[in-house]
Amino acid sequence: MGQITLNAVRKSFGEVDVIPSIDLRIEDGEFVVFVGPSGCGKSTLLRLIAGLEDVTSGGITIDGTDATELPPAKRGLAMVFQSYALYPHMSVRKNIAFPLKMAGMTPEQQEAKVQSAAKVLNLTNYLDRRPGQLSGGQRQRVAIGRAIVREPKAFLFDEPLSNLDAALRVNMRQEITELHQQLKTTMIYVTHDQVEAMTMADKIVVLNAGRIEQVGSPLALYEHPANTFVAGFIGSPKMNLITGIEADKLGATTIGVRPEHLDIVAEGGWEGVVGLSEHLGSDTFLKVATKAVGTINVRAGGEIKLSHGDRVRLAPQAGKVHRFGPDGKTLA
């Protein structure tokens, strides 16, 4: 089991309210990603759940029991840190066995669990090494190993992939997703990378300045962003947010069109000049300066042959224009 509920959780450091008030329910077995720009309070929220920070007010329940005042060790959660936080003076074996030792298991039980975790994570040949003798990816695996042997109610990941290079990051991302499918344990994952959020999550929690902007599945957030913040944050490249006459025409303060929802047309639409074109093979990213709506990003097919200075006409696809009111919220 691993059902976690936050009730009006508030956290302040001195005078500063980092998290004014958050209500959130995380279901057992869910993969939840907290995403938001740096300083939005996502790591603080994770640390509150972990028990590494005390809540200023409000409550946290884990599997129905009040965990607000419980120390981290008693919450039954495991955490993987950004810096991995491995014990440098212990071998990989001892690192992974540490939580088992703390739980009072016999050395035989510890060894059996370490062996099976090492097998899953391809660490069998490294058990006698120290963390200092491992690569970044291997250290990450040890940190995960240390988390899984405890069979926790939920895993907490605090930007675990940000210290890895791009290729390794994609691999580890898939490994963590597979691990989730295998273990079916609740996972809460903090990242500032919306690609990680989109690819891994069952449920994304978008945070901004300590507040939840929107909660939903990746596709729900992509298709129906609740406000301009979520609209701009989810999706890559970013949604074009347009104000002015074109927005007024549709009865909105701001309209949003995703780069992939703009078509290159022969007539009508917004006329503009290509400023930058990036050919990725599969896609072409264009930056087009238009008179009507300013500079906008377009995601076109890989076969498009446009370059700097070419004139194009762009039209948003039907039903793909998002309308936002003066408060930034989506209009019905």
Partner: protein, 276 residues
């Protein structure tokens, strides 16, 4: 970047370094040299002394006149005992100051250090009377307690700086892994800070071994360490240079040897954290 220096400059600097080193070591050297001569020869001019016959008479006499092993034992008990006791108290204290600092932690640290700035003689009377009333005069227990208290500020400060170097996330990881406070300090913090703890231990053993104010004031015989043993040879009745030197040599030899073998550890420990 390495600085370039000419050969003559190197020679001058090297000579100066050796000169200063010799100057610092000279009193110890002279004490050792005097200890191998008779009382009569010891007070002669340096040249006459060095050319006079060498012998172990002073050492033999010191051995028969006083109980070296008792004083040596007392020194070991007082210096090692007080250091270990101080570590037991200081490790949790430094943990708290380094990882869960309060508003007044810095003030507290400064206040602890300020106690070292006070002249010890300022509290001699209350301390002496307190010791007398508690029956602690001339006891090893009393001396261990005093030495622990005297060195505690330094021990806490040193450990605090070592602990500050340890990333807090690792201790948080231990907490997440189910470690109690005791396990966290015992299995994670202490092993990681072991080099720092070792040099703190060494330095404080040396400081406590050499301490010669309280040990002289609060002991007479039973708990008297080697400092008292040396002092017993500088009496107003007469000059006992050779015996005094022999006693001094015997008193400082153990700590000199310890310092020599642990100098790498000491230097590493004392400069730990200075360069990153």
């Amino acid at each position: 970047m390495a600085r370039k220096s000419s050969t003559p400059a190197k020679v001058v600097v090297t000579a100066a370094a050796w000169g200063i080193g010799f100057l610092i070591f000279f009193p110890i050297l002279w004490t050792i040299l005097m200890s191998f001569h008779t009382e009569g020869d010891a007070i002669k001019s340096p040249f006459e002394m060095l050319t006079s016959p060498w012998n172990f008479d002073s050492y033999a006499e010191v051995q028969t006149r006083s109980n070296y092993s008792l004083h040596f034992f007392n020194s070991v008990v007082i210096s090692v005992g007080s250091t270990l006791l101080a570590l037991v108290i200081a490790i949790p204290a430094a943990w708290a100051m380094a990882f869960v600092p309060g508003k007044r932690t810095k003030d507290l640290l400064m206040w602890m250090l300020s106690t070292k700035m006070m002249p010890a003689v300022g509290v001699l009377i209350p301390m002496y009377l307190g010791f007398k009333n508690m029956g602690l005069l001339d006891t090893r227990t009393g001396l261990v307690a005093v030495m622990t208290l005297i060195n505690l500020p330094i021990v806490v400060w040193m450990l605090y700086t070592y602990f500050k170097e340890i990333p807090g996330e690792i201790l948080e990881a231990a907490r997440m892994d189910g470690a109690s406070l005791r396990s966290e300090i015992l299995y994670v913090l202490t092993p990681m800070a072991l080099p720092g703890i070792a040099s703190t231990l060494l330095l404080n053993v040396i400081l406590a071994w050499n301490e010669a104010f309280w040990t002289l004031q609060l002991t007479t015989h039973d708990a008297a360490p080697l400092t008292q043993f040396i002092a017993s040879y500088s009496s107003p009745e007469g000059l006992f240079y050779a015996k005094l030197s022999a006693a001094s040599t015997m008193a400082i030899a153990p700590i000199l040897i310890l310092g020599w073998f642990s100098q790498k550890q000491l230097v590493r420990g004392l400069t730990f954290g200075a360069v990153k």
